[in-house]
Amino acid sequence: MVTNLKHQHLYFLLLLFCFSPLCAQEDVTALENQYYRLSDIPIPEDIVLEVGGMAFTEDDQLGIATRRGEIWIVDDPYLKKSRQPAFKRFAAGLHEPLWLTYHQGAFYTTQRAELTKITDTNQDGKGDLFQTIYSWPLSGNYHEYSYGPLMLPDGDMLVTLNLAWIGEGASLSKWRGWMLKINEKGEMKPYATGLRSPAGFGLNAEGDIFYAENQGDWIGSGRITQLDEGDFAGNPSGLIWTNEPNSPLQLKRKIFPDSVGLMHEFAKNISSLKVPTVWFPHTVMGISTSEILSIDTDAFGPFQGQLLVGDQGHSKIMRVFLEKVNDEYQGACFPFREGFSSGVLRMAWGSDHSLFVGMTSRGWSSTGPDMYGLQRVQWSGQTPFDMKAIRALSNGFEVEFTQPVDREQASNSQAYQMTGFTYIYHRTYGSPIINQQSCPVVKAEVSEDGRKVRLYVDGLRAGYIHELKVNDLHSQNGVPLLHPSAYYTLNNIPEGEGLDHSMMVAQQPAATENVARSCGSDPSKNITEMPEDWTDGPDVVINIGTKPGLKFDLEQFEVTEGSKVQLVFNNSDDMLHNLLVVNPGTAEEVGKTAMGLGLEGTQLGYIPDSEDVLYHTCLLQPESSQDIYFVAPKAGDYTYVCTFPGHYISMQGTMKVISRSTAAR
């Protein structure tokens, strides 16, 4: 169970990723705000609006379910009548409702134990009839969250059940790890499994079902997956129920070794295994995907028909373009809007096509600093210059832009960098990026209308994620590209012409099979064996663990300058953490730099190459630990911080180094 991080080796090419605006987030937020304006909906002070679900009523009021079990109705969410809209309590006493749906005069939600319908039968503005549509057993584990219902056009409802957490995900009671289909009469049909933490799911414009998954055991990174009846989406814990007579699949848990290898290869032999439709590379495209919402209008800008995907930990919303190749969905994800005030869990469309965003960060902190919040995104009417879509071709990609491009810049193949990579499919929590390989863009052809660029790409691999970075591209009107990166999940390569190799310049793919050590770039800052000259051992041993809610269990410790310190960091949490000792006053900056590392971040364990980073552990798996050894620096208040993206805000402590003269007194 204990990960031995001491003997892994460092072999990877440092790729230059950090010229993207990810390194300068505040600028992006300001630019995004020109097109998609963010505003607060003021919450009365006495309401703890930890948003679990949101739904508009037929009267265009906004219903909000909270994690404390209340349902509030906001009368004027558009702030047409007042800058402080009235919140009226419709219901209370529910057990952590994490969804809200409004259908034919009633609210529907899931509590931990059941799917519930709530009706105001006497029209006094308060729910008075609470009907249990369907109830399920619970083991009592805190991680058994329940989500839904998503109302389907035929009136059937979809519900998903989160796995328990017992050091790994586990299905301790029936249908945990499943999506269930339930009708109004309470008849239930298990629909699909392989789910781990399915907080978000929705329909695209065609009415197909997609669910969002978070990194974890068996899940190398965040992703969305299209689900049909009988599908298995990857985490095998829920398979223990496939012996049940109503299970739509017979796949068994026991065929899964602890480390499978590559998911898309394994899927070739397992018909029910559904590979992810679109991967969201961890920490680059969020860390915890949440709601999925389809853009069914052109009144929200140029992205009609695409999906929005929220992210709780990174307080942002991303965008997905989908297409079908070989009759299966695949596509690309793009940054869309960041800078929300708390963890983005839910989204809902207002009747004016503005987007309402409901947030919570209790227990899982977010880059947005507030404990909860309610915000609104409105399209300004201006079209951003952005990549609108990426379509796979037999020998490359077609990139569609929202506006005509600068022809000269866009036809230069050097403006495009493409890298293929994937994740390991294994029982371990998360995955390093593996099999990373650059894919030379050998030619770029701009379409007649200037809105599309056809990229001829060498080295495409089916089953791999393909990162596209665009350098210094402007629109025909001279506006720089708002978001220059995108990630296309190339499950299938369309049939057709291959690459004409006469086009290839003298450029060879820089193939780099690498093993990520996830431990920074300077081994001298990560001494994990006691130095041999410490013949009397360390002067002091400091034990630091983690607490739920992204905290260290030790807020402060004191050492004398020049003393030999053994620091033991125990990651007892259910997510990845590291520990960096940084120069006084630099934790914020180092934390932000770590967030901007991009794909490289995974390989470096989110440990930036910075003079302010003095000593650090590697990025540690849940339930593992590492000892590091260092000599205490000169007196001062140093910070120790976890720089896993989003954690630095709350996960900090102080190492007080006292001078020898003080210590002697």
Binding site: T116, L129, Q131, S139, Y142, S572, E623
Partner: protein, 625 residues
């Protein structure tokens, strides 16, 4: 009124200790603790001679809860009781004397009565009929009575909450008392102290120091030991299951303790013997902190244990990894190789006074789970750790999050502990009248009821809420939950124990809120529609339950389970005392439906067949506690 009293005991009388479960370690199971000494109530021989005749024994008692000082008895033994009159009202003293003591007992207060337990004959925990009082003082049940000087009272401490039950019901009391301490010259160096007083499952006093004897003590002075005194001059009272453990100022001591640390996790002692430790040394305390290893190590303590007095010793190990304990090379206990620090392994051994070698072994598997605690209990020695406090797991203090009830009833769902098991489908309901109950939404029956403040939800709403628990703020009356309604093929068919959530036995179910926000739970079982409503009874004495049934051509007979327990008594006033007088069922109104008491697998059940009239039926009754 001698002779007129009749006790209707219907069903099997099962000798069963009080079924209430406390929330602390007061009554660990018999394997998990050395036995208490039981005060025999077969006669009064355990007590000092009393010249007056107010104290006697009985086999059964009955106190009409509505009649002042009423207490009727059935000749026999097993119960100690006091029935004072003008000439007979002596206090009762035990033959034994005590210093530090754990005392546990059940008591039954007649209406308006008053008594008290005086530790060492000097320091009183008040017993009083404080039922339904909104606010409580030192004079109320569970209070530490005032001291008295110069016509003036001082000190004294009110119980934290009013945890009292109705007159005529058995109530449970646990007292952990520390006697005053004196130096060799006889000078007092530490005050007497009530470490913990638990009334009906709720801690009502914690760490209360008293500077001297309380009012009406039998002795003015303070001494290391004294007899237990039960007050007899203020009214009738009955006791049963009175048990104690007394403690002396002695302890096991450790000598020549060494430790050895081995790299790696070894659960085989023979393997360990063959290995070289990576670190070893002498130590004066037992704590995992002697090891600087991070994980995957085995820590062995060896030393000698000086046993002060011959007798039974009970050892307990608990740790965040496998641990085991040997004395004199003989296995005593292990923790079942658990990684859960809350899991105890117990082992008992008879030891003669003297010196014994011991070995404590602890295997650390995971770094965040470092903890090992070895505790013991012995003759005259309370449960005490041999390891240091920092070697265990320390629980932090948290400011609680509570839900208060204002003008309207409040409902909150969550998990709730019931008879030590976490129930996951629970609705807790609090009324402005300060009556609260919890309802099980799997079996559609009452889970527990309590008076006073409503709910602590800290474990749901703080951080991730890892236990998702809602906890009653008052003393809970835990009811044995069986489904309320069943369709039986015949009257003597077995009552179903439970219904699992995914059986979907109940259909068309949920609850509706009345205009005044009172929940009415409803469901359909078979083809019978049931509606179940609970409201505070007048005067806050308990809860009134109304069950409405609507029939649609039922083929089975429909029965309703009003109560179950070790036994159920029909009382002279037409009400029932359930589960050895834990609560009353009163005012049963069932139209033409007649209740029956039956026995099933050692369990008494009060059933009522539901006979429809025009496809309707209604049952109503009160639960009083």
């Amino acid at each position: 009124m001698p002779g007129k009293f009749r006790l209707f005991t219907i069903g099997l009388l099962i000798t069963f200790a009080c079924t209430q479960h406390s929330e602390t370690d007061e009554e660990r199971l018999s394997d998990d603790a050395l036995p208490f000494t039981t005060l025999s109530f077969s006669n009064l021989s355990e007590f000092r001679d009393v010249s007056q005749n107010n104290w006697k024994t009985a086999s059964e008692v009955y106190a009409n809860r509505e009649e002042e000082h009423h207490l009727e008895t059935h000749e026999g033994n097993g119960i100690l009781l006091n029935q004072p009159d003008d000439n007979n009202q002596a206090n009762l003293f035990t033959e034994f004397e005590h210093g530090d003591i754990d005392l546990t007992l059940d008591f039954l207060m007649p209406k308006g009565s008053n008594s008290g337990i005086y530790l060492q004959g000097r320091y009183e925990v008040q017993l009083f009929d404080s039922w339904l009082k909104d606010s409580v003082t030192y004079e109320d049940c569970g209070g530490i009575y005032q001291r008295w000087n110069n016509e003036r009272g001082f000190e004294g401490k009110a119980p934290a909450i009013n945890a009292s039950k109705a007159p005529g019901l058995w109530q449970h009391l646990f007292i952990r008392f520390k006697a005053p301490k004196f130096d060799e010259s006889g000078k007092k160096i530490a005050n007497a102290r009530f470490q913990e007083v638990i009334l009906n499952g709720k801690v009502v006093q914690r760490e209360v120091e008293i500077s001297g004897p309380t009012r009406a003590a039998a002795f003015e002075d303070e001494k290391p030991v004294g007899p237990l005194m039960i007050q007899g001059d203020h009214g009738p009272v009955a006791f049963k299951n009175m048990k104690y453990k007394t403690y002396k100022d002695q302890a096991l001591s450790l000598e020549n303790v060494t430790y050895q640390i081995y790299k790696g996790a070894y659960t085989n002692t023979d393997t360990l013997e063959s290995l070289q430790p990576i670190q070893s040394g002498e130590t004066d305390t037992l704590s995992y902190l002697v090891s600087k290893e991070n994980a995957l190590y085995t820590l062995v303590f060896k030393g000698e244990m000086v046993v002060p007095e011959s007798g039974d010793y009970l050892f307990s190990v608990q740790s965040g990894g496998p641990s085991w304990f040997h004395i004199d090379n003989e296995y005593i206990t292990d923790n079942d190789a658990s990684n859960n620090y809350d899991h105890h392994g117990y082992g008992k051994r008879q030891l003669e006074a003297g010196q014994y070698p011991f070995t404590l072994t602890y295997v650390n598997l995971v770094p965040w789970n470092k903890s090992v605690t070895l505790s013991y209990e012995g003759p005259g020695i309370p449960l005490s750790p041999l390891t240091t406090q920092s070697s265990g797991v320390i629980i932090p203090n948290i400011e609680p999050i509570t839900i208060k009830v204002a003008e309207e009833p409040v409902l909150q769902r969550g998990f709730m502990i019931h008879h030590d098991v976490t129930k996951t489908h629970v609705a807790a309901i609090g009324f402005p009248e300060k009556i609260n109950y919890a309802y099980d939404l799997k079996n559609y029956n009452l889970l527990s009821a309590w008076r006073g403040e409503f709910l602590n939800v800290t474990e749901m709403w703080l951080d991730r809420g890892e236990r998702q628990l809602e906890e009653p703020l008052g003393a809970p009356l835990e009811i044995s939950i069986l489904p309320t309604v069943a369709l039986l093929s015949r009257q003597n068919a077995a009552w179903p124990d439970s219904v699992t959530a995914d059986d979907q036995v109940y259909r068309n179910r949920g609850y509706r809120l009345t205009d005044s926000n009172i929940p009415a739970f409803f469901y359909t079982i078979g083809d019978v529609e049931v509606e179940d409503t609970w409201q505070p009874s007048p005067n806050q004495e308990g809860l009134v339950r109304k069950l409405n049934f609507t029939f649609h051509q039922s083929e089975n007979e429909v029965y309703c389970l009003l109560a179950s327990g070790s036994h159920i008594e029909a009382l002279p006033n037409g009400s029932y005392a359930v589960d050895d007088k834990r609560y009353y069922i009163e005012d049963l109104q069932g139209e033409n439906n007649q209740p029956v008491i039956r026995n099933e697998r050692g369990r008494a059940e009060l059933l009522i067949p539901i006979l429809p009239q025009n496809n309707q039926s209604q049952i109503q009754y009160s639960i009083i506690w």
